[in-house]
């Protein structure tokens, strides 16, 4: 049995331990006039303990609340409110991580830059609400065709940038062609006489160590070629 002077690793004593000690003291020191004082102190100790537990519980709950809010804010910072896709900031973060992985593990990754053809004309002829709906429907089509670990973002305006980890040239090209064809099937939601949706795609297969901005520039350069060569087509970066 430990004495009150024992250096205890636990600061807090359970109610049952206190009750046992009190019972023992009451037995061993029956009739001692200090007994009521000791009992009173023990009660105060228990109250203090309960108060401490309560403060801790409320504090933990509030801390959890702050963490949840941070998560929501973090989501908002990296997502595009219209399409629900990741935004540019979010993709850059993932792309940086992928570039670092390539440097470490030499796993190539693909970048797919997709741009909606004649988007300005759609906005001008049908209004911005139709343009917005086209963006939403293109985003939904992207979602349907991607692998679980692909990352896709609205890069800005009518441009989407997709990051495809661990991929080779042939599957990258196949995926891009499949996406391009899938866009032909897009029916713009809730719009009569909706314009056809066509997209141009630029691809870059990154297999050497380079920085994120440089890899995006190369995908963009391929997209430029696709636009120049007549739109509604896929081009892969071949060097300048």
């Amino acid at each position: 049995m430990s004495s009150p002077n024992d250096p205890s690793p636990r600061l807090a004593m359970a109610d049952s331990v206190i009750a046992q000690r009190l019972a023992r003291i009451a037995q061993e020191h029956a009739g001692n006039p200090l007994l009521p004082e000791i009992e009173w102190l023990a009660l105060q100790y228990q109250r203090l303990q309960q108060r401490f537990d309560k403060i801790t519980a409320i504090s933990d709950r509030l801390q959890g609340q702050v963490l949840e809010m941070n998560k929501v804010l973090q989501e908002q910072v990296i997502s595009d409110p219209l399409t629900g896709l990741m935004n540019r900031a979010g993709l850059i973060e993932r792309l940086n991580a992928e570039c670092a992985r390539l440097a470490r593990e030499h796993t190539p990754f693909g970048l797919l830059m997709l741009d909606i053809d004649h988007f300005k004309a759609i906005n001008d002829a049908f209004g911005h609400h139709v343009g917005d709906q086209v963006l939403v429907d293109v985003a939904a089509t992207l979602r349907q065709h991607m692998r679980a670990y692909d990352v896709f973002s609205r890069w800005g305006g009518e441009e989407f940038l997709l990051l495809l980890p661990a991929i080779e040239a042939d599957p990258l090209l196949e995926l891009a062609q499949r996406l391009r064809m899938a866009m032909h099937e897009v029916q713009v939601h809730g719009v009569d006489n909706a314009p056809p949706v066509r997209v141009s795609i630029g691809l870059y297969l990154c297999s050497v160590e380079e920085d994120a901005a440089e890899s995006v520039r190369k995908a963009d350069s391929a997209l430029y070629q696709a636009k120049k060569r007549g739109r509604d087509r896929v081009e892969i970066y071949q060097g300048e």
Binding site: R51, K54, I55, A57, I58, S59, R61, L62, G64, Q65, V66, E68, M69
Partner: protein, 128 residues
């Protein structure tokens, strides 16, 4: 009794202690660097108010979106004083305002009200 009012800061709530109305208001966030220093005048004010007589009611309105651990402790100290006053027969009421968009806010309020027997009302301030 002195009327006491303190403007809100980034880390402390707006405080108003009105002896005429027998009313305490705290509105804002509460995570002062030294919560004891911040809450001491409020605890002292309430003790003095309660010592004046035993009849005047106390009405407390709290709208605190975030409270740190030190503030929770001070808040419970205030509630102890209010509970004692209530046990002694005084009319005591607390209104706890919260924003229901914050899913855990009501649970926090309930945790605060668990050990008190005076009227403790929760009020959702969010207007959809």
């Amino acid at each position: 009794m002195q009327y006491y009012e303190k403007a809100a800061s980034v880390s402390t709530p707006w405080v108003r202690l009105d002896p005429e109305l027998g009313r305490i208001d705290l509105v804002g966030e509460s995570y002062p660097a030294n919560s004891f220093e911040f809450y001491q005048p409020i605890v002292e004010w309430l003790s003095a108010y309660l010592a004046l007589d035993s009849v005047h009611p106390v009405h407390v309105e709290l709208e605190l979106s975030y409270v740190n651990t030190g503030s929770i402790k001070s808040m419970l100290d205030l509630f102890d004083l209010l509970e004692q006053a209530h046990q002694d027969g005084r009319a005591v009421a607390v209104v706890w305002k919260y924003d229901s968009r914050n899913q855990r806010a009501l649970e926090t309020a309930e945790e605060f009200s668990e050990d008190v027997s005076f009227p403790f009302k929760t009020l959702d301030t969010f207007v959809p």
